[in-house]
């Protein structure tokens, strides 16, 4: 490991809070940081938030590090966080008394990094380095941010402290979502049936401000939503977001699609997101009723096929249309518990869209497809790279989209839009017990007066996904 990179070494104020006299942890991390090129201002014991902040301000430190061995820290955390925010510096908290729940709570309150008993030296150094970069990026080089919506040091982390489940996270869009959420600071519980590929996502997330907790689980199982929720709560103590992304390709016209393919298709695309909303929505309701309501968000995955129809893909199109409506009604139902529900229709080159080009022509999890799914990877100007959709998902999960719910966004291939939902057409009186003749006369007029449905998509159309 190297120091924080910039010419000037990272500078950190370290101490314990209140009457917590155990310094072993503070000493240890202080020495580790010194060995890795940081400048450490060691304040020892009996600190207040004021004292730590005053030292940080005087020393122009990048962050404050607090080692906790007693629960007193909880009483000082908000004050300390507020002072760090005011100073525009980071806050890192560590100690073996910090349970997973404590860690999640500190992150949710705004701490930049939290280390419990399992944190390794490498993890701590990596995360502290990321915080220093972010703090420096925020005040040293703001114009660069505006020109660089993509990944890079110094990006804002609107999802810091938020815990999000992403299903189907091993490949394609799901992988891109997981990594982008991490880049924005989220803790991602990543689910997929492809355990090996999931491991690669975890590896790819190493070094990002957030984290990936991989769970290999088949989303069509009735217990899967519970399994994922439990995993999130065990690991992080809280759950803020869901990205129901898992999909699969079962292709075929009506006359050819078998029952088993139909069942699988509906299970993955419709039943699974429905069950996820039921189980996770139930958790959000319980939290809300217990007075612990969180800013919750669910993002479902619909498709242009579900919005406009896709030639010879009736079952897939129907399932995706249902998902759009699931988001609409789910938004109404879960809104009272503080949750937003939206759907995104992504346009991207993935394993499900082989017609979009050579990158995934083999239907496989080719490295090319996954490289394209990583917004940090150099994918040139390919507008169909999955990484371009990921920031839209992240935005819907973030603080800026709290008032957005029941909506659909279509994103990819260089464009983003909010497609219109079904609208009532011009209304005509319906005669009572209309005769066949009257129907012949009336209904063509009704149809002619309405806006015709948009053109159906076909494999040649790059919107198809």
């Amino acid at each position: 490991m190297t120091g924080p990179g910039p010419a000037r070494p990272g500078k950190i104020v370290i101490g314990t809070l209140g009457l917590d006299q155990h310094e072993v942890g503070a000493m240890a991390i202080g020495q580790i940081l010194v060995r890795h090129g940081y400048e450490v201002i060691y304040l020892g014991r009996f600190n207040t938030p004021q004292r730590l902040a005053a030292a940080a301000e005087q020393e122009d430190a990048d962050l404050i590090g607090v080692s906790v061995h007693s629960w007193e820290y909880a009483a000082y955390a908000d004050e300390l966080l507020a002072r760090c925010r005011d100073l525009g510096i980071g806050l890192v908290v560590g100690g073996s008394v910090l349970t997973e729940k404590d860690q999640a709570a500190l992150l949710a309150r705004g701490a930049d990094a939290v280390f419990g008993p399992y944190a390794s030296e490498a993890t701590m150094l990596r995360q502290i380095e990321a915080v220093v970069r972010r703090v420096r990026g925020g005040d040293d080089d703001p114009p660069a941010l505006a020109h660089q919506p993509g990944p890079g040091p110094g990006r804002a982390m609107p999802l810091a402290g938020r815990v999000v489940i992403v299903t189907g996270a091993a490949h394609g869009l799901g992988r891109a979502y997981a990594l982008e959420l991490c880049r924005q600071g989220a803790a991602v519980v990543a689910d997929d049936i492809d355990e090996a590929a999931l491991k690669e996502v975890t590896d790819a997330a190493a070094g990002l401000p957030g984290s990936v907790h991989a769970i290999a689980c088949d989303i069509t199982g009735a217990d899967a939503p519970r399994t994922l929720l439990d995993a999130a709560l065990r690991r992080y103590g809280q759950l803020h977001g869901l990205v129901a992304n898992a999909g699969l390709l079962r292709s075929g016209p009506i006359l050819q699609l078998t029952d088993s393919d139909l069942r699988l298709l509906l299970d993955v695309h419709l039943t699974a997101p429905f069950r996820l909303l039921r189980v996770i929505g139930g958790y959000w309701r319980a939290e809300s009723k217990a007075g612990r309501g969180v800013e919750a968000s669910a993002v479902l995955t619909t498709s242009a096929a579900g919005l406009y129809g896709f030639r010879a893909e009736a079952a897939y199109s129907a399932a995706k249309a249902a998902v759009a409506m699931l988001a609409r009604v789910g938004a109404d139902e879960l809104g009272r518990y503080g949750a937003t529900v939206n759907a995104v229709a992504p346009v991207a080159r993935t394993r499900l869209t082989p017609w979009l080009g050579e990158a995934a022509a083999d239907h496989g999890a080719g490295p090319a497809a996954d490289a394209a799914a990583d917004p940090a990877a150099d994918h040139g100007d390919d507008p169909l790279a999955a990484g371009h959709v990921a920031p839209v998902i992240a935005w819907l999960l973030g603080p800026a989209a709290r008032n957005v719910t029941g909506r659909v966004l279509e994103a990819g291939n260089g464009q983003v839009s909010a497609p219109s939902a079904w609208q009532p057409g011009p209304q005509f009186p319906l005669p009572s017990l209309m005769s066949p003749e009257a129907a012949d006369a009336l209904l063509p007029r009704v149809l002619a007066s309405a806006v015709p449905p948009p053109e159906m998509l076909a494999a040649q159309d790059p919107r198809g996904a």
């Binding site: 310094e23 304040l43 020892g44």
Partner: protein
């Protein structure tokens, strides 16, 4: 311990592949029988006393005095034979619970004690005439509080047994800071020892606690050399006051640490006994056998316990406790399996007491004194540790006056280096720790016992309110007079502090108020945080 072929002990003593009779250099005369000088093998006890073994106790104290009293009663009901009470962070710092810096910490890491009534409530119904009460508390106040509370429960202070830790040299640098200058701390130590010799003659008023100073990462040689340095400093000052050595030396006890290199830890205890006996006889001129054979109790190391896989801590505690039983310690406390997370839960207390009971009643370890005596390896280690500890003490004493070293941060440097060395060794894997740098399992699979370990309780805000409501009900005149006497005594370097402290506590002054007056008498701000700030950062 390294994985190299050239093995060494945890304290860095080179080890050979095996040992022979030639390695125990001193011969049997240098070891001696149990009960005979130089007491390497401890005392010789009658069979019944030997069978009773050591005092089973567990560190306790949680929340208000009443809540802690329930905890003590539960421990005694579970078979504990002694009690060791530790204060919460405010109490350890000699501050009152309603001080703004204290409220978030009241009762969460020990008992909250700040007034006479608190001691009365803590000790209600505790058979102090039958069991021993050890105070891991600021000693002068612990002794004064127990002295005042015992008669309220019908117990003559003269029958009290137990111990009070005396940390004048190291407390400010190592977890037990009370924000008092060295001179005042040393006066409190000497005055409270003399007070106890007079008023509580069966009590060990001078417990040298090497546990708390060493559990940041010191090795066995550093631990015991610092311990002996402090014992010698206090003894010299008592002798300088004209207190006869055979009057106070029997009231000295030592509370040591026990880490995982168990042969070294056993050898450390035997070396300590021998060093103590030699020091008392040859340097301080003691002749009473009770002055030469020191009581040693042990607290197993919290630093060796891990937050990962907490069940493994039960195994560590068992291994350490068994080693200490074989070393023949007089008292034993196991750091409970939930120690990395919290003060002990009731079930963790029970497991620790049961561990002691299983070792005591089922293994027959107590049948024979010093069962490992004569092991060539152990005797060689004992000799080498004795030599190294003694050399380290001489080296430090040559550096100058201990009080000056304390004020100049010399000892703090030792503690900080120890912490750094330990954490570096764990991080690098040089110190192998199961579940931490070997045999690690993912956190989501590591659930066993975590629910207990991670339980929380809130600071005892009700007790804070109780103290706030109680303050105005006190008689102002005797209170102010009592505090003024403390202030005056503190300002006079020749005055006794203990009399005024007992009187002030009896007049319902609080520990925080009394230490404030001690500071003012020494020309310092009454509030400790102004004092701490005035000293500046201490890196």
């Amino acid at each position: 311990m390294t994985a190299d072929d050239a093995a060494s002990s945890a304290a860095g003593i080179p080890l050979r592949p095996f040992y022979t009779a030639a390695d125990a250099s001193g011969g049997y005369a240098g070891i001696g029988d149990p009960g005979a000088y130089p007491y390497t093998r401890g005392r010789m006890r009658p069979l019944a006393a030997r069978r009773r073994g050591w005092i089973h106790r567990e560190l306790s104290g949680e929340g208000s005095p009443r809540r802690s009293n329930e905890q003590l009663q539960a421990l005694l009901a579970g078979g504990a034979l002694g009690i060791d009470v530790i204060g919460d962070n405010p109490t350890m710092s000699a501050l009152d619970p309603d001080h703004p810096m204290c409220v978030p910490a009241v009762g969460t890491t020990g008992v909250s004690l700040c007034r006479k009534q608190d001691f009365v409530e803590l000790l209600e119904g505790i058979p102090l005439d039958e069991i021993t009460l050890s105070h891991s508390l600021p000693p002068a106040f612990a002794l004064a509080g127990q002295y005042l509370a015992s008669p309220r429960h019908g117990i003559d202070p003269r029958v009290l047994r137990g111990s009070a830790i005396q940390p004048p040299l190291y407390s400010e640098d190592c977890s037990y800071a009370t924000f008092l200058p060295f001179a005042t701390r040393m006066r409190l130590t000497l005055d409270s020892i003399v007070f106890a010799l007079r008023e509580m003659p069966r009590f060990h008023a001078f417990l040298e606690d090497t546990y708390y100073i060493s559990d940041g990462g010191l090795d066995a040689v550093e631990e015991m050399s610092l311990g002996f340095l402090e014992i010698r400093e206090v003894c010299r000052r008592l002798l300088a006051r004209g207190v006869p050595v055979d009057s106070f030396a029997p009231r000295i006890a030592i509370l040591v640490n026990c880490r995982m290199d168990v042969f070294e830890e056993i050898a450390k205890i035997r070396a300590t006994r021998r060093l103590f006996a030699r020091m008392m006889r040859e340097e301080f001129g003691a002749t009473d056998p009770r002055s030469l054979s020191v009581n040693i109790a042990v607290h197993t190391s919290g630093l060796t316990l891990t937050a990962a896989q907490p069940a493994n801590n039960i195994v560590r505690g068992t291994v350490q406790a068994m080693a200490m039983a074989m070393a023949g310690v007089q008292g034993l406390e196991i750091s409970t399996f939930d120690e990395p997370f919290r003060t002990p839960s009731a079930i963790a207390h029970q497991v620790a007491i049961r561990t002691q009971q299983v070792i005591h009643t089922e293994t027959n370890i107590t049948a024979v004194e010093d069962p490992l005596g004569g092991s060539w390896y152990l005797e060689s280690l004992t000799d080498e540790l004795e030599r190294r500890i003694d050399a380290a003490v001489r080296e430090m004493e040559e550096l100058g006056d201990a009080g000056t070293l304390a004020e100049n941060g010399y000892f703090r440097g030792i503690f900080l280096r120890g912490m750094d060395r330990h954490s570096s060794a764990v991080q690098s894997g040089d110190l192998r720790v199961v579940g931490v740098n070997e045999h690690v399992i993912p956190p989501e699979d590591d659930r066993f016992l975590r629910d207990i370990a991670e339980q929380r309780f809130e600071p005892d805000h009700a007790h804070v309110e109780r103290i706030r409501a109680w303050r105005p009900t006190r008689g102002a005149a005797p209170l102010q007079a009592g505090l003024e006497r403390v202030r005056e005594a503190s300002a006079d370097p020749d005055a006794d502090l203990m009399g005024p402290i007992v009187a002030a506590l009896d007049a319902d002054a609080t520990i925080g108020e009394i230490t404030g007056c001690l500071r003012q008498g020494a020309g310092l701000p009454g509030d400790p945080f102004e004092f701490a700030a005035a000293r500046g950062t201490r890196a």
